[in-house]
Point group: none
DNA sequence: GATGAATGAGCTTTCATTCAT
DNA sequence: AATGAATGAAAGCTCATTCAT
């Protein structure tokens, strides 16, 4: 009778790797580091992920799907576009507070180590779950007449760049206040930038 | 007569390192890589920079001062705040076009490899030249009644996150058009977000 | 069935390192040198000793305990103090003949490379097993009325300095005869110097 | 008008090298270290000593002659052999107090780094000035009937091993008292060991 | 004599990955 | 599935020595 199933082991690795990669960086974190913290042998690690790079890529997909699901829920809720913006900002900042690994991994590992994701994550492949939902949000906002009809990437860059930037500043302990306290003003700024004119 | 002065050598290293670090990443780029491309021996490299980390830190300062000077000029010009925003966006995107190493270094090396900059670049020390100028821009905009008086970091995060995000998308070859073509709409979005209300 | 146990591997390294360090010196001997002679890879060496310095320190302790045990046996034997001196001299010279690495390591590596042993071997920490036994010998000699009651370190310096000096001269091939042939006269000299007066 | 003569420069190097080699060890001390402390360029250093090894060898000769001269004076003085022993011990310990570099260099550099002195200092070549004087001391002592007629090297090993051992213990800060306070008892011990019987 | 930038071999150490058990 | 010893290429960095000026 196995103590842990294969999936549980995999989840264990994902959880530990996310933490270590986001805290110490991709190159600083070693496979022995991860294996030890998971409580398994180095050799066995390779039964679950065939390389360090593969692990890194699976992590992006994992996060993308996780955030994508959250945005999907917001998209499907019956609230105004302006409110949706607030909800997305709120969700993002709450996550940065509660599961900082995810956002930090995104910012510090995925966005920065091109070499690692070059093969297998071309364009937005590994991140499509999450991008697609934002696309839906934006399209619906335009369709409903709430948002100005502009290039999607400009809107996307604003949204994600802004949120990422704030989380980054927070991570650097540069922000004077909690992330939460910025939710309102930032949602407002985004809405002002994107709203129909 | 000396072929190259000491300063020229140093500049050569800076230029090559900027290119390699931003293209291949900090950890992938080796000192032998840099030395070879500069055309000097590994040992001699260390006569100019006492460690790889030190080199990385000097590069941030170098870039920060470079961009800071550009923004300073815009700050000092006699144009409306809205126009200034456009000028900054324009300068940033032009730089990303012509000297992509600088922006890329910022995004991919400085912002991501915390370990490297932990000691010596605490907070915004190494980046102050550039942050200070943006602060001045913002303060003057508020004072003149053009911009809404909000937390500086929120405005800063919007500005830099947005621009960084767009350059990132461009670097990933995800943008359908040139960066230049986005100047107007992005400047507009930023202005809409920050303007007095 | 495992070819070699982990302890056997460690012993193999100790034995080879002792030989090389004592013959060629600490700085001249490289880890690749050691690994090759043991028949293992450089990387694997570090699974047994986490650094060259650590190896050096473990070697001193190893030798100190080895010699300490020998002296202990002599201390516990039921013979006169004068005879004990002879036995110690004899044991020391025999060792210098049969396992010259040990004594040479002591003289040429431990006593000379302060930098290496500064941290972790302060005072006589790494060498206490052996010093303690000599202390016991001396105390018992004084107590039994055989030895003159003087400062321990003076007696210690005489004993070890003298023996070390002779082994050194021998190692330099300066001595006209074998070490063995000096046993009697040197034991006599030591006894004359230390005996009750 | 030259500020310093060639010989003065050489003396400067000798003095600095002696200090650094004895304090930090032969391999830890670099030529740039020495050159800087002397106040000259690395390149110029090589105009005075053609290699690091050569410098090391010249230093031994220098010290050997220095100590040899001191012993010579004692040898030539009109005092009893017992008193001469005391004078030599006293001179040695005073030197260890006032110019510790010399003794330390002997113990930690010359006696330990065989590789360095292998060629050019075979046997006792580099150290003959000093050994010769001790030999004279011993021969005269025997001739005068004060000392027991035994193998010179045994007497030499006792003398130098003992003194070296004490200075070593002192250098390690293991001795409870000053070296000076041991002069009497050690001279006594040596005399007891060597005197006619 | 004097300078110090330049060389390059070589050192210690790390780590992704493999594989016999 | 699981272990962890083993591999070996490669990294950052040092330093004795040279040589153009």
């Amino acid at each position: 009778m196995a103590r842990v199933t294969k999936q549980e082991r995999k989840d264990g690795i994902i959880s530990v790797a996310l933490k270590l990669f986001s805290e110490k960086g991709f190159y600083i974190t070693t496979i022995p580091d991860i294996a030890e913290k998971v409580g398994m042998s180095v050799g066995n690690f390779y039964n679950y992920f065939t390389s360090k790079d593969i692990l890194a890529k699976e992590l992006v997909v994992y996060i993308s799907e996780y955030i994508g699901a959250k945005i999907k829920k917001i998209n499907e809720s019956d609230i105004a576009t302006e409110k949706k913006i607030y909800e997305i900002v709120s969700m993002y900042f709450d996550m940065a507070d509660e599961k900082p690994e995810m956002i930090e991994y995104f910012l510090r590992v995925y966005l920065s180590n091109r070499e690692v994701f070059k093969e297998g994550c071309e364009g937005m492949i590994c991140v499509s779950a999450f991008v697609t939902e934002l696309m839906i949000f934006f399209d619906e906002g335009v369709e409903s007449g709430d948002l100005y009809d502009q290039d999607f990437f400009s809107a996307f860059g604003l949204f994600m760049g802004y949120l990422g930037g704030m989380v980054f500043l927070f991570g650097e302990k540069i922000l004077p206040d909690s992330l939460s306290s910025y939710k309102e003003s930032i949602a407002q700024n985004i809405y002002n930038a994107l709203k129909a004119r």
